[in-house]
């Protein structure tokens, strides 16, 4: 029989997620509530994942109407849906084999979707051209990253390949590195300066890694997850220069690019900066940038739709990348439709434009409001400090615990922020993501909370959290 000793050691090496345990417990509590077990709260508020639909944010109507019309083409001929929805569905179907969403598309994605995405990127980057041939549509950004790692990482070590990874970073990426047998080379983001990326720290990390692995890839998340930090153009240029000097492949995770809400912040893509640095860099630095329909205002996590844009990949390597993605056959088609809309939303004059714009604006306003409200409330709590992020859909407050909490946690064999999160769930029904999942400087503790949630849910959540926090702090003081 297969036992732990005979399975893939890389799979064994994947670190377990504490958050999964929290989710399991949350599911148990939900079941208990349904059975009528008495609790000090009537429902679970789950803000642990970057999933806006989970807590009740609504999908964008246009997206769902188009998908429905593609699924049931009879809707295209009825007047129930706006004319631009029907036309978009018709156009999309015309490009699919057999005019059906049930057909496979080309492995790298439906060509018209690749084109839409390429045009989106070109517009976004002020005219810096993107070619559809360099766009691979995948079943989510996580699959895109997995594909890239598969191509990049030889895995026949030692020496094993190293990937420079920001700390804090989100858990599923570190799990992906472990799954591929890749060495994570952590570089600390600077919390005191708003989670900036410091080149000296990158240099330090790289230098220290050279003894025990072969560093090859530099992974950046911009805007940051969980931090919400937005890199300046200068910072991006420095990173690109560093990658060029040290011959590192740049892996830019830009899935939160549409969620910038800071007054003085602007998302600039790595590709754009690369291009503006001139031929010296723009023709040689190798890079892949990842985006997704899961985040931003669409929040369509469940559809599993993302893409990667490859930059300066050798024409000798591209066929292998294409063959590799060919073995996945293709990305899910409903997700590809969502991506097409993300890349090519309704335009002024289109029948759905007004409603679409209103809905997107409402979502953006909710996000801005919620981020500010959450930061204000959390930052005012004793033993908690919360920076105002510039982007993303999270706040990432820092907890300052009494030493007794740390001792208590140590005895229980867990991180203090996990202890806190567990107690928070039991006492208040609020499920958050503990900082230990993301990596953090020793002795520091954080929580990550999703704030792209209905505002009244946010208010309820903050009320419960505040009440719990004060009690918890008092208990250990």
């Amino acid at each position: 029989m297969f036992g732990l000793g005979t399975i893939n050691p890389n799979v064994r090496a994947i670190g377990g997620s504490q958050e999964h345990d929290l989710h399991r417990r949350a599911a148990q509590i939900r079941a208990e509530l349904q059975q009528g077990v008495s609790k000090p709260f009537s429902d679970i508020i789950d803000v642990s994942s970057g999933d806006s639909h989970l807590t009740g944010m609504m999908p964008v109507t246009f997206v769902r109407q188009v998908i429905a019309a593609c699924l049931c083409p009879a809707l295209i001929h009825s007047d129930d849906l706006p004319v631009d929805v029907r036309r978009r569905a018709q156009d999309l179907l015309a490009q699919l084999d057999g005019e059906s969403m049930g057909s496979y598309t080309d492995s790298c994605g439906a060509p018209n979707v690749q084109c839409s995405v390429a045009e989106f990127i070109t517009r976004r980057d002020g005219g810096v051209p993107a070619s559809p041939q360099n766009i691979f549509i995948c079943g989510g950004s996580q699959r895109a990253l997995a594909l890239l790692l598969e191509i990049l990482i030889p895995n026949d070590g030692p020496p094993y390949t190293g990937v420079l990874t920001p700390v804090p970073t989100y858990k599923t990426f570190t799990m992906l590195l472990e799954e591929t047998g890749t060495v994570m080379v952590p570089y600390q983001l600077c919390e005191e300066q708003g989670w900036v990326l410091q080149i000296d720290e990158l240099r330090r990390a790289l230098r220290d890694s050279r003894g025990h692995c072969s560093p090859k890839v530099l992974y950046v998340i911009n805007p940051g997850n969980p931090t919400g930090h937005v890199q300046t153009m200068k910072s991006i240029a420095e990173v690109i220069q560093f990658a060029a000097e040290e011959e590192l492949f740049l892996l830019a995770d830009e899935v939160y690019q549409d969620t910038v809400h800071g007054d003085n912040s602007e998302f600039i893509s790595y590709k754009r900066v690369l291009f503006e640095m001139g031929g010296e860099f723009s023709e040689t630095v190798q890079m892949a940038s990842v985006h997704s329909a899961s985040k931003g205002y669409m929040g369509e996590c469940g559809l599993r739709a993302g893409y990667v844009e490859l930059v300066n990949i050798d024409h000798t390597v591209m066929p292998f990348a294409e063959w590799l993605i060919g073995t996945k056959i293709c990305a899910p088609v409903p997700g590809q439709v969502a991506l097409d809309i993300m890349a090519r939303p309704p335009q002024p004059g289109d029948a759905s434009y007004v409603q679409y714009t209103q809905e997107v604006q409402a979502i953006q306003e909710t996000l801005v409001h919620n981020v500010r409200r959450a930061q204000e409330v959390l930052n005012s709590l004793p033993g908690m400090s919360c920076q105002l992020p510039e982007a993303g859909i999270f706040v990432f407050p820092r907890l300052q615990f009494h030493p007794q909490v740390a001792e208590h946690a140590k005895k229980a064999g867990v991180d203090a922020d996990l202890l806190y999160s567990r107690r928070l769930l039991e006492d208040s029904g609020v499920c958050v993501s503990p900082g230990c999942e993301y990596g953090q400087r020793d002795g520091t503790h954080h929580l990550r909370l999703c704030v792209l949630i209905p505002t009244n849910t946010l208010d309820e959540m903050l009320t419960r959290l505040t009440r719990f926090h004060l009690r918890f702090m008092a208990e250990f003081f």
Binding site: G56, N155, T327
Partner: protein, 489 residues
């Protein structure tokens, strides 16, 4: 460094030398070079280049909708209702479809198909899958906890293979796969750096699976690797054979004796056409063999929404059932699937309908039954048509297409053709298929892409084109084969 301090001489990080060498070994013939050429030709036709044909007929991939098969109305209605819930107020949609949609949405996080589901899949869908399996297998219990929804069966297959691969050199995991096989298996094994252990299906006996051949392959493999898993595709792809119950028992017995992890790819389980054949699930046979086997044989079986009568490839829906997996290993599997977050929710919704279709007393039942029967009838007709047509062509023989969606005829090639192919560095059946494509616009996949006995040549053609087109294809292949044979004699 130049004067202005900029580094100008630097190597590229990602080259064919520095990339993962395993990826270079990956081949997937179904979408390989012949398809690339077919796409080129399609573009040439669009540009008005003159050719001896007006369209490319893609008989290379098992994609029913691409070839004109209609989707099942009920399934599309429910998923549309799940996508855009305002349609729940639309009286053009039947009540039973609305009920299904409400049930699915209630089971979705946040009531939306846009939220992540649990990594293992939506719980109520897994429960419905378990009940479907119980019904299919005459009441044998199925624990929903053993069901993992996946992004198509391929995703599940790769996940299991990844889980099982370990060791180095002589202890490196070997995986037994049939020849001919669906090339996902060989591609996945190459990518994972696992050892492919080929066992040959017997063409002369309708692609029968012989335990003696399994044993031969296993013994030979043990010299250089550690064979740990045995893959069976039933009904077969590309071969179309439907294994007898006795054969399945023999395989299970063999797996038990040799401590092999059984992987049963059963995605074509509804595609059985031959009157004297019947689909027997590996699980059912395993349990009917009694606790001596059903308590110990480790088995994973795979199913999908891409084939059968619904053909919804684009949704990427599927599941796997794991049986007798060590609980600690299962926990690792659960952890591993979480790294991809979750399978696409529209595909999960669709799968729920496949395992929980309209019932006799429901309004959509009769339409559903008609549509399902029509699709399966159509496939059965075309299977017979194709098989008979190929057998009438001198130089081509074709085993009965008992199930699945393909013909895999054997072609005899003149020596001169074989020689010319070798000179060009092409497999002879690739050479043949390329010429067929150039002359007729018909895109097939050469047998070399699936594996075959040395010195034999085949091609795989789907039985999916609409009947009238299929007849034309068969005629053209006949003409081509005759002229090809003449030319190279």
């Amino acid at each position: 460094m130049t004067e202005n301090g900029v580094v100008c001489q630097r190597g590229k990080v990602l080259t064919t030398d520095t990339m993962n060498p395993n990826v270079k070994k990956v081949e997937y013939a179904v979408r390989g070079p012949i398809v690339q050429r077919a796409v080129q030709i399609e573009n040439e036709l669009k540009e008005g280049v003159k050719k001896p044909f007006s369209e490319v007929i893609r008989a290379n991939i098992g994609d029913a909708h691409a070839m004109g098969q209609r989707p099942i109305t009920f399934f599309r209605q429910v998923v549309a209702l799940c996508s855009y819930s305002k349609l729940l107020e639309d009286d053009k949609f039947p009540e039973d479809a609305k009920n299904r949609a409400r049930r699915i949405l209630q089971a979705c996080n946040g009531g939306s198909i846009g939220a992540y589901s649990a990594s293992q899949g939506i719980e109520c869908v897994r429960q419905d899958v378990a009940r479907y399996i119980e019904r299919r297998d005459g009441g044998i219990t199925c624990n929903p906890d053993n069901i993992y929804l996946c992004t198509g069966a391929s995703d599940g297959i790769v996940a299991i293979l990844k889980l099982l691969v370990s060791g180095e050199g002589r202890t490196r995991t070997g995986v037994m796969i049939p020849i001919p096989q669906y090339p996902l298996y060989s591609a996945a094994l190459a990518d994972l750096g696992a050892v492919q252990v080929s066992y040959y299906l017997d063409e002369d006996r309708c692609w029968a699976l012989d335990v003696s051949e399994l044993r031969r392959a296993l013994v030979a493999a043990r010299q250089h690797c550690s064979p740990r898993a045995l893959c069976v595709i039933n009904p077969g792809n590309p071969t179309g054979q439907v294994q007898s119950r006795q054969c399945i028992e023999d395989v299970i017995r063999f797996a038990a004796e040799e401590h092999l992890f059984l992987m049963a790819d059963e995605v074509y389980q509804d595609n059985v056409y031959a009157e004297d054949c019947q689909f027997h699930s590996f699980k059912k046979v395993l349990y009917e063999m009694g606790p001596e086997y059903s308590d110990i044989v480790e088995l994973v079986s795979f199913h999908s929404t891409s084939k059968c009568y619904m053909g919804e490839c684009g949704f990427r829906g599927g599941y796997m059932e794991v049986i007798n997996m060590d609980p600690e290993v299962k926990a690792q599997l659960t952890k591993m699937v979480s790294v991809r977050l979750c399978p696409p929710v529209p595909g999960q919704a669709l799968l729920d309908l496949v395992v929980n279709p309209p019932q006799r007393d429901e309004p959509s039942y009769s339409t559903f039954i008609e549509e399902r029967a029509a699709n399966l009838r159509d496939l059965a007709t075309k299977a017979k048509l194709a098989q008979e047509a190929f057998n009438r062509i001198p130089g081509i023989t074709c085993n009965p297409v008992q199930g699945a969606m393909y013909c895999f005829p054997r072609i005899s090639l003149p020596e001169r053709a074989v020689a010319e192919a070798r000179e060009m560095g092409q497999a002879p059946d690739m050479f043949y298929c390329m010429k067929l494509l150039e002359d007729t616009g018909i895109c097939l996949v050469p047998g070399s892409g699936f594996g075959q006995m040395d010195g034999t040549y085949h091609f795989r053609m789907t039985i999916l084109p609409p009947t009238d087109k299929l007849k034309i294809v068969l005629d053209k292949v006949k003409e081509f084969h005759q002229s090809f044979t003449q030319h190279y004699s």
